[in-house]
Symmetry: C2
Subunit: 338 residues, 2 copies
């Protein structure tokens, strides 16, 4: 801590989820160092934070070492928390940046862990439900080991996240870094990129334009959508939880590995129902049309959030209709202004 004020560093802080984390941390009085290379993140996501004296934006690609000595001023001597959220995250984005995605999961995580090691920070890794691949169990709990192709088109993201978990775990075991791994399930909300290729912005863009709404496969595959405010609340609680020592964590007494927590909304919906609901709230005349399902697209996806519930006393609080309406309003305004 610096003069009683907590300092957090957020990689990917100009991204969709990262920007909400910055905002949340500032709102609870922290100083925030936001590192982003603005490849899939955007300065517009943090434009309203730039003038905040507690907010420091650094344009930097975390796959290169970040020399904080050059970034920090005399008032910041310590970094209490490192939130490692840098990565392309949608299938479209990581397909466009396959090797960069693998680099940020490996070298980026290494550099972020190096900061946490040096400053003895608590390290929060943004992992993903994609480590479960196309699961044969539903819901997925944290002990499920996944079904992931190492060579297929999604492997650049899935294996990058699995590797990041292994690397963070090695820093926990070998260097004693306080590691907390958040496996985020699908998160949605305002500030998603409208062209990031994911279902919610895709459907909204198509509905708002009166285009056909394209559903891949027959739409019976399921997703569990968590509103971003809920996701960020859980991440903050995971970072702040003080009872995580291996000897003293409920339900994890015999687990010598770092804590891993699913964060998501267990309300499971079919992709077709998501498409229909967006068509409904948009009052759009768009037709829903079907296209072939891409390879390795997960057929089901639903978090078991029992652990987050027990440990962090957390449950998603935003219902789907409220969340999807907020998001729709954002995209409607966005499209008018852009």
């Amino acid at each position: 801590m610096n003069n009683g004020q907590i300092t957090s560093l957020v990689t990917g802080g100009a991204g969709f989820v990262g920007s909400y984390i910055c905002e949340y941390l500032l709102s609870v009085g922290q100083k925030v160092i936001c590192i982003d290379n603005l490849v899939t993140g955007a300065k517009s996501n943090i434009s309203y934070l730039i003038d905040n004296p507690d907010f420091i934006f650094v344009s930097h690609d975390i796959i290169q070492p970040a020399y904080l000595d050059e970034i920090l001023d005399d008032t910041i001597q310590e970094v209490d928390f490192v939130y490692h959220f840098a990565s392309p995250a949608s299938p479209k984005d990581y397909s466009n940046h396959p090797i960069h995605t693998l680099k940020v999961g490996s070298m980026g995580t290494l550099n972020a862990l190096g900061i946490a090691k040096r400053y003895q920070s608590t390290f929060i890794l943004a992992s993903s439900s994609e480590v479960y691949g196309d699961p044969e169990v539903n819901p997925q709990n944290e002990n499920y080991l996944g079904r992931v192709s190492t060579t297929g088109p999604r492997s650049v993201y899935d294996e990058a996240k699995r590797f990041a978990e292994a690397l963070a775990s090695a820093y926990y075991h070998a260097h004693g870094v306080d590691i907390r791994i958040a496996r985020l399930f699908n998160t949605y909300g305002p500030r998603m990129r409208i062209d990031d290729g994911r279902a919610v912005p895709n459907f909204m863009f198509q509905a708002l334009n009166g285009d056909d709404i394209t559903v891949y496969g027959d739409g019976s595959q399921t997703r569990s959508l968590c509103y971003v405010d809920d996701t960020v609340e859980a991440i903050y609680r995971l970072a702040s939880y003080s009872n995580l020592s291996p000897a003293n964590r409920s339900g994890f007494e015999n687990n010598p590995d770092p804590i891993v927590v699913n964060i998501g909304n267990p309300v499971e919906m079919t992709v077709l129902d998501i498409a229909k609901s967006i068509k409904d709230i948009s009052d759009s005349k768009s037709k829903i049309v079907f296209k072939p399902l891409p390879i390795h697209d997960p057929k089901v996806r639903k978090p078991d959030i029992g652990l987050a519930n027990r440990l962090l006393e957390w449950n998603p609080a935003v219902d789907y209709i409220t969340g999807i309406q907020n998001t729709f309003k954002y995209f409607k305004t966005y499209l008018k202004e852009n």
Copy 2:
């Protein structure tokens, strides 16, 4: 090719399997650049090659970029094959070097792929049956997606190999590098390190010293042991196979991903039977004793080698007794001389 002579670069070329690859390639008339940092490899493994004018040894850690301009002379302009075999490979070794193991799987693979991209080399990745983890199917074929913990003690190796496969696949898809992935199952033979912690050298060391032979668990877990000459023959055939274009590979017509081939011996033995056989051939008075099984130790491990058989017309040729006797002779001499 340089004046008609093929040049191969072997990372980890002073390691157990790597040194046999160097030897094999020299025996078929190739020029060999051997890169090794000698952490788990040993100069003694390649001492008899050092005077060969076709052999170039470079002491270098492949987690740092290798600038071949400084290594190559005027006679070598091209690198036709890159064999990426650098990595600690036994549980004892990678537990001693956890972060280095993750780095060589990620940054090391990246640097080796960079060479293959620059010189348009064929790239052979030494992957491992460990990508299958503790499998729920037996035998394992190449389509099995594995059961691997991302946070447990073996994850530093397992996830490093999975990541290396994903990175190599990305270079195949994004840069058109000719990638061939060899998933090696347990390989044994002379030049294993006697203290690398694996069952065969462990049992032999104990038998030769008259110590108790320690079997972990009840010894009913199985392994499939492939003699190193067989392994290396398969690797060479995989590298040389000329029929691997996606449009033209038997059994893989519809697979857009790079070729992945299991290499191992499908003769499955219990660990207890391996211990007994070594006790027998050593004529040792050692007793067999049992210790607790480490976490995530695979209970079964047996390659389905149908693909290697079909594609490479390869089958292991060295029977277990011959192989184990050769290995025993090596360790007996080694212990006398050291």
